[in-house]
């Protein structure tokens, strides 16, 4: 049976992990490869590396990082963060990345998804989308939530799927960082709107939240950052909990 996936997300700046990594057993908690390997050891099904560097050197450092990760880890990983051109993506593919995620650049120029899927295959292209609930409607936001748009979430994910996105990574900005659970109702609507897998992000605080997102939220994968980094929830313990509740997971 196809397992529901648990995905830790790591923020990367200039090739190093940043923001709230708190592990006692690590030699170097800033080393993305070491941290990724530890998550892989604990049973993470996939990893997402989100680059928040904003420099001209970005393409080179990101490709070097993808190479390091691919050489050392034997589970799939996605790299995202400010990707806007075919050139960026080609460098990551050749470095060994399994998937890339695009966000704002795809909203600004939807044809980017088509070009990426056409050149590298849909399985390589994850559409990341951030959205907020305003007066009963969900709207897409850009640049990590700083810029509002009038684009409706469900319209955008459908269009992105039609253009060739192979997976949707949805973050509810209303739920992100609040730790009160995922945005299950809209997640279920996203999942029913598209026929590609949906990764839920934003809101994980307790193990029950993952149970809810895989049942009520109809998500295919659950992504979280700080609860894993601060060891509030262990991946092995989370998977055992889910398995006991009848959710198919890889143990």
């Amino acid at each position: 049976m196809l397992a529901k996936r648990i995905i830790p997300c790591l923020d990367i700046k200039e090739g190093r992990t940043v923001k709230g990594i708190n592990f006692v057993d690590l030699r170097d908690a800033g080393d993305p490869v070491e941290l990724g390997a530890m998550y892989s050891e604990q049973g993470a099904d996939e990893l997402v590396f989100l680059d928040i560097t904003a420099t001209h050197e970005k393409r080179k450092t990101l490709a070097a990082l993808a190479h390091e990760i691919a050489a050392n880890l034997s589970i799939p990983f996605t790299i995202g963060g400010g990707i806007s051109s075919l050139g960026d993506v080609e460098a990551l593919l050749h470095a060994g990345a399994d998937k890339i995620s695009v966000n704002s650049a795809a909203v600004r120029r939807p044809a980017l998804i088509e070009e990426l899927a056409g050149n590298f295959g849909s399985q390589f292209v994850v559409l990341a989308v951030d959205a907020k609930h305003i007066n009963g409607e969900w709207f897409v936001y850009l640049n990590g939530g700083r810029i509002a748009t009038e684009i409706r979430l469900l319209d955008w994910v459908k269009e992105a799927e039609n253009l060739g996105a192979g997976e949707i990574l949805f973050t509810s900005m209303d739920h992100d960082g609040v730790k009160t659970g995922f945005a299950n109702d809209i997640l279920a609507a996203v999942s029913e709107t598209v026929s590609v897998p949906v990764i839920a992000s934003g809101g994980a605080g307790k193990m029950e939240h993952f149970y809810e997102v895989f049942t009520r939220g109809k998500a295919d994968a659950g992504l979280a950052a700080s609860i894993f980094h601060f060891q509030e929830i262990g991946i092995a313990e989370l998977k055992k909990y889910l398995s006991d509740k009848g959710v198919p997971v890889r143990i």
């Binding site: 196809l2 397992a3 099904d45 295959g121 399985q123 897998p197």
Partner: protein
């Protein structure tokens, strides 16, 4: 051992080389017919679209090369599908080594396509994988599948049962990505290398 990995217009061949590296095996990534023919073992990886890839292989004469191989060959993902007779992906005539058809998943109850993520192996009797891998999880990404048949060495259930591992004579193949399947995947690559 001289191991060739067939180089063609496919995505993410790098991962296969990295995985072999971790197993301590240096592979020769090559599209050269002579070097492929001379290798002790050959890996035929693949991520991509069937029709474009078959056209590329024919243009380079690699279709004939692959058919002529008598040493152990391991097809991965698209590499497995191309070993078959025909694929529904853009109505493509494939290499015709394994007499099976490749079909598109047609979900009956809302399953997502592609089949993406970790799913389990159900081993056929006397599978070349050995008996330790029953119910183990491996990583899949595909929208087309090979029907179960006489050459199935392991099957997996998604929408319906399909062949996740096959073998015919010296041709071995996996629908999943052993290079991305953690320790289980490494064990499978090791098994192939030890044949």
């Amino acid at each position: 051992m001289n191991l060739a990995v067939i180089q063609y217009n496919a995505g993410n061949i790098r991962s296969v080389l990295f995985a072999l590296d971790r197993l301590g095996v240096k592979a020769d990534l090559t599209g050269d017919p002579d070097r492929i023919r001379r290798a002790d073992k050959v890996i035929f990886p693949g991520v991509g679209e069937a029709n474009t890839t078959m056209r590329f292989l024919r243009e380079k004469g690699l279709d004939e090369v692959i058919r002529s191989l008598r040493q152990p060959v391991l097809g991965i993902c698209l590499g497995m599908q191309l070993l078959c007779d025909h694929s529904e992906e853009n109505d493509t005539e494939c290499l015709g080594i394994i007499p099976q058809h490749v079909r598109l998943f047609r979900p009956q109850s809302g399953e997502k396509v592609p089949h993406m993520g970790w799913n389990t192996l159900e081993l056929s009797p006397d599978s070349w994988l050995g008996s330790d891998l029953q119910d183990q999880f491996v990583y899949f990404v595909h929208s087309y599948y090979v029907e179960p048949g006489p050459y199935t060495a392991a099957s997996t259930h998604y929408v319906q049962p399909f062949s996740s591992v096959v073998r015919k004579d010296n041709f071995y193949a996996t629908q999943f990505h052993p290079e991305k399947s953690g320790k289980v995947g490494e064990a499978i690559l090791r098994t192939f290398l030890d044949i």
